[in-house]
Amino acid sequence: MEQEKAEAPETKVAKAAPEPLKDDSIIASPDLAFVNEIIKGGGESVKKCYQCATCSVVCNLTPPDNPFPRKEMIYAQWGMKDKLFGNPDIWLCHQCSDCTAYCPRGAKPGEVLNAVRKLSIEKYSVPAFMGKLVGNPGALVLLLAVPAVIFLIILAGLGHLNLESIRNDAGKIAYSSLIKSYYIDGVFVPIFMFAVVSLAIGVSRYWKDMIKTAGVKPKGSITSAITATIGDILSHKRFELCNVAKDRKMAHMLVLFSFIGLAITTAWAVTYLYGYEIMHAMGKTPYPWLLGPSPYPLSDPVKWLANASAIALLVGIVMVIMNRKKNEEKAGKGGYYDWLFIYIVFAVMATGILSELVRLADLALPAYIIYFSHLVVVFFLFAYAPFSKMAHMLYRATAMVYAKATERDIEVK
C-alpha cells in the first residue's frame, strides 16, 4: 500500500502510463464474493489475521522459502483465488493446527486453508454443479435420495420388496439373494468409472493451474516424485511433524489402511464370485476354493481380512471423531464439509458391520433394511468422491508430487 502511494505522484508528473512494478508486488482487486465463500465454508475467522507470521514459523510442514500459511491468509482476505487455487501449498498443509493453536488473533489459519481446499475441490469438479451440491448442507437429502431411488427401483423391478421372505437356497438370509451382484456391480462399476474420470480431469486441471501460477515446470522424473509421494503417504511421516494434532497419525493410518484392506476384500470377493461363474459357464467344475455367491463362512480368509479391516476402520474413524472433539478448542470445530465425510465413512462402517451381525442373528427385515442403507451410503462415498473431502487423497497427492518435482517439498526424515 505504502509503495503504491509513494509511486503515484511520480507517474502523475511524468504523465506516462504506470510502469509495471519492478518487484513482485501486485495490485490486488478484492473478490468479496470469494471471501464470503471462504467464510461460509468454515473459514469465518479469516478476517482476524493481522499478518504476524507466527503461523508460518510454527508450521513444521512448510518449506522455508515462501512459507505457508501466512501468505495464503492474505490471499484469502483479498479473495485472490487464482493465487490460492494454483498453489501446491494449500494441500501441502495437513492441518496439524499448530498455526491455529498459536495464532495470536484466533484467525485459525488451519480452518481457513481447509475452507480453501473445499473450494478448490469444488472448482475442479466435473461436472461443476456436483461440487456445489456436495458442499451444500441443503442438498444432502437429495444426494442421499439418488441412490435410494436407484436401489428401490431395482428392488421393485426384481419384485423383492417382500423383505421378510427373502432367503437363499440354503434358507439363510443372503444379500446376494436380495439384489444379485450383477445389479450391484451394474450400478457401482459405472459409478466408480465416473468418479475416476471426474477426478482425473480435476487433478489434471489442478496440475496445469499450478504450472501456470507458479511458473515452474516440473523437472526430473515425475515417476520418482510419484513413488516418493506414495511412500510419504503410506508412512504417515508428515503427521509426526504435527504437534497439536499428533494423535491423528494413528487414526488416519487406521482409516487409510482399512480402506486398502477393504479394497483387497472387494477384489477377492469378485474373484470368488466371477471366477466361479466363469468356470461354471465354461462348463468346468469350479475350483473348490472359488466359493461363488456370498455369504462366505466366517472361517474363510476373505472374511478375516474383511472383518479386521471393518473393525480397524470403525476404530479409526471413531478416533478421528474423538481427536477432533478433543482438539476443538485449539484447532477449531471443522465445517460441514469435514463432518459430512467423516460421518459418511462412519455410516459406511456402521451399516456394514451391523448388516453382518444382524444377518448372523437371522433377523431378516432389519438385516435387509440395514443392508439397503449400506448400499446407499457406499454409493454416496464413491459416486460423490470427486466432490467430497474424499478427493483430498488425490489433490493432496498431486500437490505433493508437484512440490517434489519442483523441489519445493520439505525433506521428511
Binding site: 493481522y50 507470521a53 514459523v57 522455508p64 512459507p67 488473533r105
Partner: protein, 419 residues
C-alpha cells in the same frame, strides 16, 4: 456523618505518587500504601525515560520533594492493604505493615550490609544479581533507609548487623503490625508487572539465560544496575554487540495479553539506542508486527533510530527460540515477510518486549475487582469512591499515567466533598 476527607492511594509508583500529591496539595490528607520498601515503582527501575530520556530521578526527585514538604501525606512502605470495608466517604481500611527491622535513625552508612553474612536475590534487578540480606533497595532509594530481608536472614544472621550499626538504627524487635485507616476515597495505583516469560512457550519459556525481558534490559543499561550500566549478557558477561528485539512478546495475543502494551515499541527503540551508543560497532535487529509509537513526538524517535544502518527492522513475529548449549548464543526463528522466507538468525542476546500485565491479578488490594474482556481493570465496576488509575485500566507510558492520576485526584476530591 463524620466528615472524612482523607484519601488512600494503594501503590507508590508514578501514578500513585501523583494522585496522592495532587490530592494533598489541594488540601486533603493522603495515605500512600506501598508493598515494596521504597517509592517510585517501575519508573525507579528504568535507565532513561521518555520524552527527555533522562534518568528516573529527574522526575521522581520532584515528587519525593513534594511529599517531604507536605505534612498532609503519610506513606507506608512494606505495607499491604488487606481489606477495604464501608462505603464511599467512609471506608475502613485494614493495612498490614511488614517489619523493616531498620528505624528512622538509619543514615545509610552501609555498615549493616557489610557485616551481614547472608545474601538475597535482588528483585529490584529481576534476580540478575544478589544483595546482602541487609540492603538498600537501590542507590537513590526513597525513603533512604536500609531494610533487612527476613526470609533471607534468620535472627542469628541479623545480629552482626545490630552490632555493626553505630546509630542504633537496627530494631530486631519489630513485629508485623496491622493498622486501620479511615478514608473517604481510594485510588488503586498498583501498576503493572512485565508479562511472565515462563508463559511464552515458543519464546523459550524463560529458561534461556540470554533471553531477557525489556525491563531486565533497563536494569542492565542502568548505571546502578547489576552490571553498572555496561550492556553485557547474563550467561558469561560478554559484550552484547549483536542483539535482537522480539516485539509483541505476549502482547496483542489472545493466548496471553489481548491488548497492545503501548510502551514496548518505544522501549525497544530506546534499547537499540542504548546498545548503539555503547558499542559503535554493534548490530541491532528488531522483529516486529507493526511498529507503534503513540504520542506526539515519538514517531520522530522512531525515524531517528531507523536512519541508523546498523539497526535492521524485520517484519515478522518471532515464534521460535533456541539456545546453543555450548556458547549460549540465541537463535530466533521468524518469517521475514518482506523478503518472503523463514529465517534463523543467531544473536548474543535476545530481548523480549514483554507487555504490561495488570498487577491486581497477582496481588490483592482488599476490594473486589472485575476485568474487561481484554483482562484490564473495569473501572466502572469498582465500588463507588474507589478509582483505578494508570496502567491498571490501559497500558500507558509515564506521561499518560501522570495525567490519569491527576484526573483521579480530582475524582477523589469531588467524591469526599460532595457528601
Amino acid at each position: 456523618m463524620a466528615e472524612n476527607k482523607k484519601v488512600l492511594v494503594i501503590g507508590g509508583g508514578m501514578s500513585g505518587l501523583t494522585a496522592a500529591i495532587e490530592t494533598a496539595e489541594a488540601g486533603l490528607e493522603a495515605y500512600i500504601v506501598e508493598k515494596t520498601p521504597y517509592l517510585g515503582g517501575r519508573v525507579a527501575q528504568i535507565s532513561k525515560y521518555f520524552w527527555k530520556l533522562c534518568p528516573p530521578n529527574c522526575g521522581l526527585e520532584i515528587q519525593f520533594k513534594r511529599i517531604k514538604n507536605n505534612p498532609r501525606i503519610r506513606y507506608y512502605t512494606l505495607a499491604e492493604v488487606e481489606d477495604i470495608k464501608g462505603e464511599e466517604g467512609n471506608f475502613d481500611v485494614t493495612v498490614k505493615l511488614h517489619p523493616r527491622f531498620v528505624n528512622d535513625k538509619c543514615v545509610g552508612c552501609d555498615a549493616c550490609a557489610q557485616a551481614c553474612p547472608s545474601y538475597r536475590d535482588n528483585d529490584f534487578n529481576f534476580g540478575m544479581d544478589k544483595t546482602k540480606a541487609a540492603y538498600l533497595p537501590f542507590e537513590q532509594a526513597f525513603p533512604f533507609k536500609y531494610v533487612i530481608d527476613e526470609r533471607a536472614c534468620s535472627k542469628d544472621c541479623m545480629k552482626p548487623c545490630l552490632e555493626a550499626c553505630k546509630y542504633d538504627a537496627i530494631d530486631l524487635g519489630m513485629k508485623p503490625e496491622t493498622i486501620s485507616l479511615k478514608v473517604g476515597a481510594v485510588v488503586l495505583a498498583t501498576g503493572w508487572n512485565p508479562y511472565d516469560m515462563n508463559k511464552l512457550d515458543i519464546l523459550g519459556s524463560g529458561k534461556m539465560k540470554n533471553v531477557i525481558t525489556n525491563m531486565m534490559m533497563e536494569r542492565i543499561a542502568s548505571v546502578d544496575g547489576p552490571t553498572k550500566g555496561k550492556i553485557v549478557r547474563p550467561s558469561d558477561g560478554k559484550e552484547v554487540k549483536n542483539i535482537a528485539f522480539v516485539q509483541c512478546a505476549g502482547s496483542r495475543d489472545e493466548n496471553h495479553l489481548h491488548y497492545c502494551s503501548y510502551v514496548c515499541c518505544l522501549a525497544s527503540l530506546k534499547h537499540a539506542m542504548y546498545v548503539r551508543e555503547q558499542y559503535p560497532d554493534s548490530k541491532v535487529q528488531i522483529f516486529y508486527i507493526d511498529i507503534r509509537t503513540p504520542g506526539l513526538y515519538e514517531p520522530r524517535f522512531y525515524w531517528k533510530i531507523k536512519d541508523d544502518p546498523n539497526v535492521i527492522f524485520t517484519k515478522g513475529k518471532v515464534a521460535g527460540i533456541t539456545e546453543d548449549p555450548a556458547t549460549k548464543d540465541v537463535t530466533v526463528e521468524v518469517e521475514d515477510i518482506y523478503a518472503g522466507g523463514k529465517i534463523k538468525a543467531s544473536f548474543d542476546m535476545v530481548v523480549l518486549a514483554t507487555g504490561m500485565d495488570v498487577s491486581t491479578k497477582s496481588s490483592k488490594v482488599g476490594t473486589a475487582i472485575s476485568y474487561t474482556p481484554d483482562g484490564l481493570v473495569d473501572d466502572s465496576a469498582l465500588k463507588k469512591g474507589i478509582y483505578a488509575v494508570g496502567t491498571l485500566k490501559s497500558p500507558a507510558d509515564v506521561a499518560r499515567s501522570v495525567q490519569d492520576a491527576t484526573g483521579a485526584a480530582i475524582k477523589c476530591i469531588q467524591s469526599v466533598n460532595r457528601r
